[in-house]
Amino acid sequence: MMLQNIQLMARIAVSIVLEAAPFLLLGSLLSAAVDRYVDTERLAHRIPKGPLGCMAVGLLGGMVMPICECGSVPLARRLLGKGVPPLTAITYMLAAPVINPVVLLSTYVAFGGNLKMVISRALVVACSAALTGWLCGGRFCSDLNADSNRPTIRPDPNHLHSHGAQSISAGGHPRRLVLDLLSSGAAEFLDMGKYLIIGALTSAAFKVFLPWQLVQALAGNTALAVALLMLLAVLLCVCSEADAFVAASFVYAPPAAQLAFMAVGALVDLKLVGMYFSAFPKKIAWTLIIVPVVCVLGLSNLLMLLVG
């Protein structure tokens, strides 16, 4: 029986990877392309000066410049260093991993074409990102700007997440450029894929070995389910391009908990916590952790109450 369960766990984990792999690959290739061909310095001069404009650019940045959460922290740091307002950079950092076509499409597919879930996810993340960006950009603006030149997370020239313009002007043979791009896509896939595999395996174990009585208790109590799945999202560190599939596999949990899992996972997880404390002052780092968690907890429950 135990052997059968382990085999079932393996098959579930593989099925999650199979389902998420196309989207992860697409995201990796897009990310690698953006990484190489988008000039962030030129972008900084085009950002509106007013707070609403800054926020809007931050929120919608992911639509034209999608990137995974592990890439968004050093990118935001770099954007800050290049003069992009904190409100824009922080909002972009938090929103881009979710408010982008690839993640929204994967959420749509994972939930069998449930548009409510897609819109709810985008809304919860957008509100949480905007509020956090506003708090960081307003209350702690001086801290952030004073600290923005601290060389804590420097883009590694060999690392895929180095988001500079240097590669644009680097030139080179077109075939070599294509090879570099594809290789970068593969490396991005590998980097993100490890979190997908860990998440898929944990999720599969959770599904196969969790006692039925406990699951019923979890499913019967919406508030508890939301909090537990949020904790799980923080611990699992699943990539935002794949977490919709993992969330969809928690079929016994209420939609509010699935939504909270998807929303908070892209904003706060174990690897991000470390990066926040490395890249930003402590006050900002705590704001980046606490505000999104509180927002997601409240908004997920509220939205699911309103739209069902």
Binding site: I6, R11, L190, G193, V246, S249
Partner: protein
Amino acid sequence: MMKRLLLTLDGAFVLGLGIYMLFLSQAEAYTAFMNPKFRPLTAAAAVGLCIVGAAFLIRSDGRTDRLRTLCFAVLGMLILHAGTGTLQSSSALTLKPPETRGEPEPLVIRDGQNYLKVNPARLFFLLQTGNALPVDQGVITRGIVRRTAELDRLDRFALLRGNMVCCLADAIAMGITVATDGLPAAQDGDWVTVFGRVRLLPEPHPVTDLGGSGEVPFSMVYDKALLVAGTVERIERPRFPYVFELPPSGKSPPRLTGGDDDY
């Protein structure tokens, strides 16, 4: 030396995953993991993975990560260990997707009466989406019997079928309560074919103490109708234990598995 080895392994894992996905996307075994609807998506991603994997082998970025190499090695082991589940036929790995077979005959005629072929999950969606069957329409359906103390008292059992909406991870056992009214009781876990008619209930009658069915740990039973059985016949497990119904398919049911396997 170690760095080169890790990078080569990384590239090989991506390439290997692409080859595996390409093969699986064309094999019958795909239905043990995924809804066949996603075959083209998996195949396209597989080709992409082969290309980027090969590119990485030729020209890697030079940065290694032991954790990612380990994770992909674990994935390789999972793939080797996963098998094809209940789809144990020798043809499970043949390159012949079952859903390419012809459109099945929708009805079964027995003792001069027509029975509509409908699997328990599709029956669930038909009823759930308000597309209730005509009162006098006979139904033939197959699934796993789940018995509980509460249902036993009422001379009923739940008939369930694992429904893979997207992939195995989100599969749910779906079905309906069957009223046997004095017929010989089927055993818990038996595969049966039921000939019967749907009867709507005046009040919902939820089944609360039901576990899963087979490999699917969670279940949903339509609680506003019964399937009143005329005949319950014990059968061998069908070739395709899972079905692949999506909620809208209550209106336009897909024939993914085809032939006699499609109910």
